[in-house]
Each structure stands twice: as structure tokens, then as C-alpha cells.
């Protein structure tokens, strides 16, 4: 293929890339918060089930997420996202958990939990089995 054949695709790609900086971001604060909060609440209920503490029907969470890098505008991919998760069980506030998030540009993230509050990598069920602790770290994806 001659060089001039590559010119137009390259020019189009560069233009689109530069426009991307100004266009609507795929990773936004609202999207991160709306994904992390319900995921955390459901995984909390799952952890309580595994620990034999019975079902937690009313577990709900709200998230307050931001990027710790100044000037980031709380948008975009990065491993500096921090989320404050307020857990409510049966309508009563039940604790605040701080998760560190690595959010990728495709809308998938890994959330690392506070070990002191949620426990280590694995937990032991009442029957003595070792299982993955769902709150230690969890992965999620949101639509971008």
C-alpha cells in the first residue's frame, strides 16, 4: 500500500482523537456512582449470607465518588477514583466504606475495599469453608 493511501485514515484518526478530548466522556462521576453503589449493596448482602448472618433484604448504598487528581473534573479513566459508600440497612445508616477504584476507559472498574472494615481476601463460613470475600475487592462494568 502506498503512503498516500494511509494518509486519510491517519488524518481521520488524529482528528477524531483530538475531538475526543472535547466530546462527551464515557467515564463520568454519575456513571461510576450509579454502578458502584448498587454493586456494593448487593455484595454486602452476599457477604452477610456467606457469614451466616441471614438475609439482608433492605441493604442499600449511596456513593460519593471523585478523582483525587486535581483538575481531572471527576471524569475519565484513572486509578485515582475514590468512592465513599454509605450503607443503609433497613433504612438505617449502617456504616461508611471508602473504596479505591481503578476505572478503565471501557467502563469496567476494580474496587478495592477497606480491609479493616470488610475483611481480608477470603472469609470463613459458619461451616468452616473458605470462600472469596465479595467485599474485599470487586469488579464491575457500566454502559459508556
Amino acid at each position: 500500500m502506498k503512503a498516500r493511501h494511509l494518509l486519510w485514515p491517519c488524518a481521520a484518526a488524529v482528528t477524531a482523537l483530538s475531538m475526543g478530548g472535547c466530546g462527551a466522556a464515557s467515564v463520568t462521576q454519575a456513571r461510576v456512582e450509579n454502578s458502584v453503589a448498587p454493586a456494593f449493596a448487593q455484595l454486602y448482602a452476599q457477604q452477610q449470607r456467606l457469614l451466616g448472618k441471614g438475609a439482608v433484604p433492605g441493604a442499600q448504598a449511596s456513593a460519593d465518588c471523585h478523582r483525587s487528581t486535581r483538575g481531572s473534573g471527576n471524569t475519565g479513566a484513572g486509578d485515582d477514583w475514590v468512592c465513599q459508600l454509605l450503607l443503609q440497612v433497613g433504612g438505617q445508616p449502617s456504616g461508611v466504606y471508602t473504596y479505591d477504584l481503578n476505572v478503565k476507559a471501557n467502563g469496567c472498574y476494580t474496587a478495592d475495599g477497606p480491609q479493616a472494615l470488610v475483611g481480608g481476601k477470603s472469609l470463613t463460613t459458619p461451616t468452616g469453608r473458605s470462600r472469596v470475600n465479595p467485599l474485599f475487592a470487586f469488579d464491575g462494568c457500566f454502559e459508556t
Binding site: L17, A39, Q42, Q46, A77, K104, A105, C108, A137, D139
Partner: protein
Amino acid sequence: MTAVLATEAVAAPPRTGRPGWAVMWRVELTKLLSQVKVRAALVACVVVPIVFTLLESTQSSVPGDTLFGRWVHESGFAVSLFLLAFTSQWGLPFLVAIVSGDVCSEEDRLQTWPLLLTRSRSRGDVLAGKVLAAASVTVAGTMLLAISSTLSGVLVVGTQPVVGLSGAVLSSGTALAATLASWLVVLPPVLAVVAIAVLASVVSRNSWAGVATPVVVTLGFGLVSQFSAADLVRPLLPTAGFDAWHGLVRTGVYTAPIRESMFVSAAWIAVCVGVSAAVLHRRDVVQ
């Protein structure tokens, strides 16, 4: 007797009534499947998931840096989905490269274009046959990978429910359906990469370039996609389709990325095959 048969074969070529591209598809399929590297790749698609699952089940650490990696000891469906997430980045491009990377350039290497194109089939038929053969073998390889991953996961680890990408626990039935659908969803971008490989193979006339291009292009697109600055470009790249299954393995399923991926992949296939056809049509092969 042999001479009579041979004469008949020359005098009356078998009139099967099949269109030229279908004849070439079959011919090219036979050529592909007789290659050792293609057979080895297909065997690897079956064996690698089995070996991974058996080895993983003997150790306590988990590959937590890839989606579903932290659940591979908890559910067989997580094993399959982990292998999907891993191979869509690090495996499928190599499968495409091995199968399709020299599907046209091998004729340059072996200097068989004049032989091939002086037969009664048009250049369009020949290219169509090659593209269809490469696509069929790659799809077969991907499906072997899917079946082997899911079966080894289910047989070695089990059919336990799995935590989806929304944090909700998916029942075994839902997880199985989502897993199988996810493997199907990866096919459009795989076919787009096949088309890129065929184009590279036609244009470069070099097997090394044909094999390297799909791998380099896929990794390059993957790299570009990591930047938030590429938000507008990302959906237009065929590699975005490798993430489209994320919307299926969860509660509150979303399928818009799958539809986008099908359109984008179709466009890449149309452009790459179209340019390949144009280049091949103009080429003077009888030097």
C-alpha cells in the same frame, strides 16, 4: 483405465451447479485444514482451557487482574468468562493471525497465483473462497475455545452461581446462558480482525506481515482504547466489540454495545474485503 478416467476428468469438469465462490470456499477450507499450524491452533483452542483449569484448581492464588479472575475457584462459569476476557485480548488475535495471516500471501510465497487465477474461477470467487474459509476456521476455533472453556470450568469447578458485573449473584441457569451468549458476541469483532488479516495478506504479499498485522493492530487498538481522550474513536474500532459482552453478564442487561459492535465490525469487514478485492483485481500476477 486410469488414462480414461484422467481424460474424462479433464474433458468434463464436474458440473456441480455450485457457484464459483462456494467451490473455492471448499477448496480453500481443505487447504487451510491440511496445514499443521492451523490444526495445531485448533487443538490449542481445545487443550489450553483444560490445562489452565486443571492447573488453576491446584493452586490457591487467583488471576484477579482480569474480569472474573477472582471467582475462578468459586464457579465454572467464571472460568469460562475469565478465559473469554483473557483470550479476547491475548488469544483470539493470534488465532486469527495463524489462520488468516497468510491466506493470500502463501500464494505469493509459493508463486501459485498464476496457477490459481488461470483456472475457470474469477478473482472475486478466489478471494471470496479464501475469506469464507479463513472466517469459518476462525469461528470454529473460537467456538471450540468457548465449549472447552465452559465444559472444563463446569466439570472441574462446578455450576455454582456467579457474581456478575453489576454485583448481583446470577443463578446457574442465567450464568450459563450469559456465558454462552458472551462467547457468541465476540464473533463480530473476531471476523473484523479476520478481514484486517486478509487485507494485510493481500496488500503485503508477505506472510510475516500478514501474520503480524492482525496482532499488532489489535494490540494497538487496545492500547489506544485505554485513553479517555479516545472516547470518540473507541466505538469505531473493532476491538470495542471485544467488551460488548460485559452488558450481558449482569442484572439490568444492556445490549446497545452489541448492536454497535455488529455495525462497526460489518463496516470494517466491508472496507477491508472491498480494498482486498480491488487490489487483487488490479494486480498483474503473471510476472
